[in-house]
């Protein structure tokens, strides 16, 4: 694939997400103009790109679907569930094909024909319907005169190349029109377009959706066929020097052409729509991920150097030097924060994916499910978003499959027939929080416990707290669904969810109350390379234990850890029997041990364990670097970090560390 084709594939994949979003909106609101325009425009862009870069098969499919939506735009076709489904499925296939990322395979891809056939068939069916008498009644629009007042919010000239200039030309041609341009030093301050047309106001307004950030549009209905009257033309001529006050025109037009109550109502609701997003004209550029990674690497270097400088400076004790060092620290921290933000993208793409999932699933399962999202603008590392997608899909599937009850069950329980699945995302300190909740039946704790006992996961007489029971759902091989379905309930999944989150150094917890619903709380670190940990030492080798798993710290004599001649290898820590992994015993048995050990209790995959070290030095936030291929066998070391004095500490991967102890 050449670079242009690659770029097209990347762009198209983004566009497909937007298309999904638009189609879902359109499904929810079949008469809405804005999503229809968006869908149409997106398809058009995909078609154009596909044809240009040699993927005629995609171009052809897009073309025929675009035709369908063009008919919708002309009001010759209505939006139906079937139409949306055909379109969604067709573009799902396109997405699959594009993800092959191989020009040859894309252009030869099988399966698009089938969707093309579906689209053509749909068109035929609809036309056949129309032919047989039940033709879609074309609404006969009344003739009306509008004043469309456009105030650009950015600088532009009348003969400039801003799309707005052309949009105004398009609007002029919708009917009889008269355009007044008001300028100040060559720059347009306002357009007044008087238009007598049969086009509805909504449609006129929809012309401006492309440029809504760049202008304020005010569209007011003045009356019926005003422009053809000599009085109105004269009135306009007299007042052409400056924009006419709205009330002045209205009083004129109402005296000319009384249209009764309707007019007053319309004038009152002559709504202004100005959706200038966040008020800022932020521009975007596409940057390759590699460049951002490079930048982040260099910033990491800078952070390390800065820490070293701080150490040296505090040793040298020179006031000039320490002042510069402090300033440098401030700048470095700012630089770090900004650069970390560069790699972050909003989780919006995920949300769109989930909307699709909820729609498809609720149809298959014949449940009524509403999907709400909050905080879709929350930003996360792009890689993390991709890695998190599958685990979160799994949770949502579980919510719909196991959580939300069938509509009749819900009704019987006095709940609304529509279940709700809610995704809420927000930032807190160095973490991104995602809460996925449903208002379904909740997790049946007794059933979970019974199942766990049945499968021998917990002892038959074990007494567990509610939290412990809920945590059992993350145990490999436990599923409470009475029958295995396609969607979930194979007993693999929730443990994989937890595993994935562990890999990303995040965690998941669950809360549930019977009849009210279940919520999963996912917590992920903002950055994968910057970690918080406990700096510990064993035989002069510094290690870092990630802080997110640490639950408590105790100090005890090394002798108590010596279980060589005892049957029970566990150690009582804070009245709890824990399996302790001693770094000294396993990795540094050569030298003599100090008297006491610090015992760090950790929670790994819901299980409590402990790590024994010689001593804890303190807490640190640092940049982790991979060890590289040379130590691929030593995977219980997640990476290494450079300490202030220039020496290296090893960052432990606790999950794999305990796997070492098992082997």
């Amino acid at each position: 694939m050449d670079s242009n084709q690659e770029r097209f594939v990347e762009d198209a994949l983004d566009l497909l997400n937007e298309l999904d979003e638009g189609l879902l909106q359109l499904e929810g609101n079949p008469h809405a103009r804005a999503p229809l325009e968006q869908v149409f425009r997106t398809m058009h862009t995909i078609k154009g790109g596909a044809n240009m870069f040699g993927f005629e098969n995609i171009g052809e499919l897009s073309h025929h679907l675009e035709t369908l939506y063009d008919l919708v735009r002309q009001e010759k076709l209505t939006v139906t569930d079937k139409l949306i489904s055909i379109t969604l499925h067709a573009f799902d296939k396109v997405r699959d094909v594009l993800q092959l990322r191989d020009a040859g395979m894309i252009s030869r891809a099988e399966g698009l024909k089938e969707h093309l056939h579906n689209a053509l068939q749909y068109l035929q069916d609809v036309q056949a319907d129309n032919g047989s008498g039940s033709s879609l009644s074309r609404k006969i629009d009344e003739v009306a005169t509008f004043l469309i007042r456009i105030v650009p919010s950015i600088r532009m000239t009348e003969d400039g190349n801003h799309p707005l200039v052309f949009i105004i030309k398009d609007i002029e041609s919708l009917g009889t029109s008269k355009v007044y341009v008001f300028k100040k030093e060559e720059e347009v301050v306002q357009w007044d377009v008087y238009l007598t047309t049969t086009t509805a106001r909504e449609e006129i307004e929809s012309y401006f959706i492309f440029v809504e950030q760049d202008c304020i549009v005010n569209c007011v209905k003045l009356g019926t066929d005003l422009l053809s009257t000599a009085e109105f033309q004269n009135f306009l001529k007299e007042n052409s020097g400056a924009p006419i006050g709205l009330d002045q025109i209205q009083s004129f037009s109402s005296s000319q052409n009384p249209i009764g109550n309707e007019k007053n109502e319309d004038i009152g609701s002559g709504k202004t729509f100005n959706l200038a997003k966040k008020g800022l004209h932020d521009t975007y550029i596409k940057v390759s991920k590699r460049k951002i990674d490079d930048l982040l690497n260099w910033i990491s270097e800078l952070i390390i150097l800065q820490a070293q400088l701080a150490t040296s400076s505090s040793r040298i004790k020179d006031s000039d030097l320490s002042e510069v060092t402090e300033l440098l620290e401030m700048v470095t921290n700012r630089l770090r924060d900004t650069s970390l933000e560069i790699g972050l993208v909003p989780i919006e793409t995920l949300v769109t994916k989930f909307k699709r999932l909820v729609r498809d699933l609720s149809k298959t399962l014949e449940k009524k499910v509403n999907f709400l999202s909050e905080g879709a603008e929350t930003e996360m590392d792009k890689d993390v978003i991709e890695l998190m997608s599958d685990p979160m899909i799994h949770i949502i599937r579980n919510c719909i499959d196991h959580g939300i009850e069938a509509p009749e069950v819900r009704k019987a329980a006095g709940k609304s027939e529509h279940g709700t699945v809610k995704l809420k995302a927000f930032n807190s300190s160095a973490y991104v929080n995602i809460i996925i909740s449903d208002d379904g039946a909740g997790i049946d704790k007794q059933k979970v416990l019974l199942k766990a006992k049945e499968k021998g996961i917990v002892g038959s007489s074990a007494e567990l707290t509610d939290d412990e029971i809920l945590n059992l759902i993350f145990h490999p091989g436990l599923s409470t669904a009475s029958s295995v379905s396609d969607i979930s309930g194979r007993g693999v999944g929730m443990d994989v969810v937890r595993q994935k989150l562990n890999d990303l150094r995040g965690y998941v917890s669950v809360q549930s109350s019977p009849g009210k619903g279940t919520s999963f709380h996912i917590k992920l670190p903002l950055s994968r390379s910057i970690i918080e940990g406990l700096l510990v030492k064993v035989d002069e080798t510094p290690y870092v234990v990630p802080l997110n798993i640490v639950t408590r710290i105790d100090r005890m004599a090394y002798e108590t850890l010596d279980r060589v001649n005892k049957l029970n290898p566990s150690v009582v820590v804070n009245e709890e029997l824990l399996s302790v992994f001693s770094l000294r015993e396993n990795f540094h048995s050569g030298s003599a041990a100090p008297k006491t050990a610090d015992i760090i209790s950790v929670t790994i995959n819901g299980a409590r364990r402990a790590i024994a070290v010689d001593r804890i030095e303190g807490k640190l936030q640092t940049v982790m670097k991979p060890l590289g291929d040379a130590f691929i066998q030593q995977d219980f070391i997640a990476g290494s970090t450079i300490l202030g004095d220039g020496s290296l500490a090893l960052v432990l991967d606790p999950v794999r560390l305990f796997q070492v102890s098992v082997n």
Partner: protein, 159 residues
Amino acid sequence: MMKHAVLAYLTFSLGEEKFAIPVGNVQEVVEFGQVTKVPNAPDYMLGIINLRGRILPLLDTKLKLGLSATVKTKKSRVMVLDIPTGDDKRLHIGAIVDVAREVIEISPKEIQEAPDVDDLKSSAPITGILNVHGDITMIMDIKKVFSIQELAKIKASIN
């Protein structure tokens, strides 16, 4: 007759013996500083070192070749090597030598084939020998000595 390209080599000592490797694979030679040991690694993998913010694995060249472990002296040096390992990847590794000597230029015709004694040629990590009036310098096969695939293979054969 076409002139053969003269190549630059860095020479170094391991005990009594002299070796040479192409200068193109040596990024720099640094003094032997602080090492952090990585547990459960083979003996010849001494750990990791911090080279101005870069983390490099450090290898004891003598141990790797089956000789006795390097004893650290004032003359001990770390050669920072950059070795292509196929599939577009490069291995950056530090290798300890007893003495780093000098850069010399050798034309290909001066290099003799390694003697085929006792399977030496196929197992010894040497691509050739430079004999200057009885003063022997062995050209080291860096890919064999330092490549990760080789390291992994050795590990696999031990287990």
